[in-house]
């Protein structure tokens, strides 16, 4: 996923779209928007970031899950949780350096961003991406050098959050 921080206005539509699409339980969220302000007044710079699970290539939530409930979906880097295997031990919450593994479903299992894999399977974008009114969010395969996301990363300055965690996050922010 690639998100253009220069186009994002922090409206929060991605958050609402996710809640609606995935029936996220009341009071909980799988994604959120952060406003980062840098500099010293009056020379300030603000960046909006729509954040969620980074679907890391080296997902510590998967390696530390004792039951295999946390897993990678069909050889992709999409990290999912199988409720029938989840004991609710919360190890994956502690294992995520981004604190993104956070929704405890009221039924007791861990719930999280799925990159809307049920939509991806049908060739659709995740709900947050398809709803974004400014079109700042892009979804696709980085293995395909011709995909929109690959092209954006080739042509624009970008970053990931805290690359020093070693988790190799896959949500990129254009700067």
């Amino acid at each position: 996923m690639v998100i253009d921080t220069r186009t994002c206005i922090g409206c929060g539509d991605c958050v609402v779209a996710c809640k609606t699409e995935n029936n996220v339980p009341e009071g909980l969220n799988r994604d959120w928007v952060v406003e980062a302000t840098r500099g010293t007044y009056p020379d300030l710079k603000t960046e909006f970031r729509s954040e969620r699970c980074n679907h890391c290539s080296n997902p510590t939530c998967v390696t530390l899950c004792p039951t295999g409930a946390s897993h990678l979906w069909k050889d992709t880097n999409i990290v999912l949780v199988e409720p029938e295997k989840c004991t609710g031990c919360k190890a994956c919450i502690a294992a995520c350096p981004y604190d993104a593994r956070l929704v405890m479903h009221p039924d007791g299992y861990i719930d999280k961003c799925t990159f809307c894999h049920h939509r991806v399977e049908q060739g659709l974008d995740p709900a947050c991406v398809s709803t974004c009114p400014t079109g700042c969010m892009h979804f696709g395969s980085l293995d395909d050098p011709h995909s929109k996301v690959s092209q954006l990363l080739k042509t624009r300055d970008h970053k990931v959050l805290k690359p020093e965690t070693g988790n190799e996050p896959n949500v990129y922010y254009l700067t």
């Binding site: 928007v33 510590t60 530390l64 899950c65 919360k90 604190d99």
Partner: protein, 335 residues
């Protein structure tokens, strides 16, 4: 100046403002796991080193404490699970990269080994209980077999008990996302602390003066080792990356300073060290029963403070709500 603030609510009490997923149930389990490991190790060593005369409680009675203590810990651990009906899922998988998975399987092995250890000394330690077991032919045969193989059982207990004691620390240190835990010393620290609390328990419960004196000396050595390990852990955090240094702040002036230095270091280590030293040197014996109580309190405090401070240590920090202080901070120069 950098500040990162939520625009939309993340609203999860487990994460914001600080990660807080595990409470006393897990701390109690970590404590009981260590205590059980220590009890099994001392019971095995008393047999393996032929100390039945000088340490009759450790050699013949201590082993029975292990499954009881471990069961208390596992009960509190079960209370912590949010999806309790699926607890059996720990045993439909083995994840080699997950210390928690290793722990689940270690626990499964520890119980039967503990039963063998109990049976091998039950006639000497608990005659009334042994007579009940002996009433059944299969029970009698099992006790006979265990008594014949007492030494082999004792020797095979040690690696599994050590694994149990150490894994509770490795369980936490494997979380790279939690800098306070992310130290290789933690496994050994929890093992030594578990052995120290078990030695303290023997001092409290054993009847013979010679045995109490022996375990007081053992405990003194373990406390000294623990002090060294804690120092190493703090040094390793202090000399680590920014995340590690921030994590260390939580016990160096931060919210867990009192808990760490008063309950764990002073009450759990330094005061017992002084009392036990006075006792061994014969200067003061009036506080002889206080030291082991403090050691046990300190052992629990270690688990609780490490659990709490570790959870909150993090790579990411977001402000959860606007405040006038945030505006003030925007006037500050970058350091």
């Amino acid at each position: 100046m950098t500040e990162e603030l939520f625009v939309t609510a993340r609203s999860n009490e487990l994460i914001d403002p600080g990660l807080h997923i595990w409470t006393w149930e897990v701390a109690m389990y970590l404590f009981m796991g260590g205590l059980t490991a220590g009890a099994m190790i001392f019971a095995a060593l008393a047999i393996a080193r032929d100390k039945v005369q000088v340490a009759p409680f450790a050699a013949t009675r201590l082993a029975l404490f292990a499954p009881v203590l471990l069961s208390i810990g596992m009960t509190t651990l079960f209370l912590d699970l949010e999806h309790k009906l699926f607890v059996y899922r720990f045993y439909t998988a083995f994840t080699i990269t997950s210390p928690m998975s290793w722990g689940a399987w270690i626990l499964i092995v520890v119980y039967p080994i503990s039963v063998l250890q109990i049976l091998s000394t039950i006639r000497a330690g608990y005659p009334a209980l042994a007579s009940m077991v002996d009433k059944l032919a299969i029970g009698r045969m099992a006790v006979d077999w265990c008594e014949r193989n007492r030494m082999q059982i004792a020797l095979s207990v040690i690696p599994f008990a050590v694994a149990l004691g150490i894994y509770t620390g490795i369980l936490l240190s494997a979380f790279g996302a939690r800098p306070f835990w992310n130290s290789g010393v933690l496994g050994i620290l929890f093992l030594v602390s578990g052995m120290s609390t078990a030695a303290a328990m023997v001092v409290l419960v054993a009847r013979q003066h010679a045995e109490k004196a022996l375990f007081t000396r053992i405990d003194l050595v373990l406390i000294l080792a623990e002090i060294g390990l804690v120092a190493l852990m703090l040094i390793s955090l202090a000399s680590g990356s920014g995340q590690h240094i921030n994590a260390l702040q939580s016990v160096m002036g931060g919210p867990y300073t009192l808990e760490f230095w008063l309950f764990f270091v002073c009450i759990g280590l330094l005061i017992p060290l002084v009392i036990e030293t006075l006792e061994i040197s014969g200067l003061n014996k009036s506080l002889v029963m206080l030291a082991p109580v403090l050691v046990i309190i300190g052992g629990y405090a270690l688990r609780q403070v490490v659990l709490d401070a570790g959870q909150e240590s993090t790579w990411t920090h977001y402000e959860t709500q606007y405040s006038s202080e945030l505006l003030e901070r925007l006037h500050e120069e970058d350091p």
